[in-house]
Amino acid sequence: MQVTVTVNGEEYTRDVDTRLLLVHFLRDHLGLTGTHWGCDTSNCGVCTVWLDGVPVKSCTVLAVMADGHAVRTVEGLERNGTLDPVQEGFVQCHGLQCGFCTPGMMLTARWLLDHNPDPSEEQIREAISGQSCRCTGYENIVRSVRWAAEHSTVEATK
């Protein structure tokens, strides 16, 4: 089946098998390997992307369901060579070790800050509760998001 999906502002048209998951569409058909694939059971959240402006788990969406819709991946966070404050925060606060969970964490963080520019530690933890990190113990992820909140001079990056 032919699908057209807008990813990070660019339209892509591809012929796909109807059972293809969105995560594989992004990684294998578009080469956008920033979106990771982990548990494949809707649990770990490493596959998190935005679909029509909200974070979802791309292993739980069929690519055909995204036909005609807009997706944002981690590749769409930086703008013209400038890192998003969330990305900068993860750099500054050592918010990652192996980096497997990081793209999903940053996309959820960006969404959170767009809707709540000054989240409490508890609100950050609740926002990322559907995402597992096996390395950092979450402390530095929370600090990274707080860093981004404190250094967000930029307008919300829709």
Binding site: G45, T48, G130
Partner: protein
């Protein structure tokens, strides 16, 4: 995943007609249950009919101070809607305590009511399961059954109903509005969820192809205070071990009206009518709350690892009632 065909429908009549005509087809809403179970071969429809373009996403205020919630409204949308927070805080709380934000952004209200049990054997096609494959037995009976039900069980199945939303809806006497080949009908939510008995594979009264169009939620009783309390292994992103939806009205220290429903401990969202009857007209005291909780759990049957749920459910009921009783309870 097996090959599937996929189509979108734009009106309710076509949706109902398409799925009714093909026994191997299924509706697809947010996909958080459907895609999950397709991936592990537990559900094997050959054709998915995507209903996300249907105009069933609105949330309306009803003249009786109740709400009509479209079947395709997303869990997060509903939980955060001002009318829902204002009129049905119980529904909002139950939704926000379920799943994770990324899932709630996709998951619909209709799909939530039709989600399948989290019983690990149901989800593992290599094991015996009467719900998935009738007549094969039940691996949970003598298996790892810590999460399983103690109320409403049968010798065929002890699977817990996983929905939090449904528990709140049962407490509020909501109606499920469905449309099928025979037209539109309204099903009281307490008749919607069927206990396993001898047919654990049959979970609801909908015909194949009958579509949930919306859910009507009456207001909580006048003057009542409500709460959804969920107890689980971790604070977030986990199904309930025990949960309680309560709406309580106390006047002059006496219980005038109480609605009580339990999740996490029963095969269906469980309306605690025995406890309600026992409490109504009685002083709102911790002692009475505990007696009513014990009365509700009296018919509970433990099975191996889930015996702790009986005491846990009692304590959760007491905690929930104490929290909403004016000045706590004596």
């Amino acid at each position: 995943m097996r090959p599937i065909s996929y189509s979108r429908v734009a009106d309710v009549g076509t949706a109902v007609g398409t799925v009714t005509a093909d026994p191997a087809s299924a509706f697809l809403a947010g996909g958080t249950t459907q895609v999950d179970l397709l991936r592990i071969y537990v559900e094997q429809p050959r054709r998915l009919v995507d209903i996300n373009d249907l105009p069933l996403r609105d949330i309306e205020e009803l003249p009786n101070r109740g709400l009509r919630i479209g079947a395709l409204a997303r869990m997060n949308e509903v939980a955060e809607h001002p009318s829902v927070i204002d009129r049905s805080p119980l529904v909002s709380q139950a939704l926000l305590l379920g799943a994770s934000p990324q899932l709630r952004n996709m998951a619909s209200i209709g799909g939530n009511l039709l989600q399948r049990t989290r019983c690990t054997y149901f989800r593992d096609v290599s094991t015996a399961c009467n719900k998935r494959t009738p007549g094969t037995g039940c691996a949970a009976m003598d298996g790892v059954n810590r999460g399983h039900a103690v109320l409403g069980t049968s010798d065929q199945c002890i699977a817990t109903h996983p929905s939090d939303l449904a528990v709140a809806l049962v407490a509020l006497d909501a109606d499920v509005i469905a449309e099928g080949q025979r037209g539109r009908r309204s099903i009281p939510v307490h008749e919607f969820f069927l206990p396993p008995e001898d047919t654990p594979d049959i979970e609801h009264p909908l015909d194949h192809g009958e579509l949930i169009v919306d859910v009507e939620v009456p207001p909580a009783p006048d003057g009542s205070t409500s709460l959804y309390l969920k107890v689980r292994d971790r604070e977030s992103y986990e199904f309930a071990l025990a949960s309680v939806a309560v709406a309580l009205r106390v006047e002059g220290g006496m219980v005038v009206e109480v609605r009580l429903a339990l999740g996490g401990v029963a095969t269906v969202p469980w309306r605690a009518r025995r406890a309600e009857r026992m409490l109504t007209g009685q002083p709102a005291t911790t002692e009475n709350f505990a007696a009513a909780a014990r009365e509700e759990l009296a018919p509970a049957v433990a099975r191996g690892m889930n015996g702790f749920k009986i005491e846990l459910a009692c304590r959760t009921i007491v905690r929930a009632l104490e929290t909403v009783a004016p000045d706590g309870a004596r």
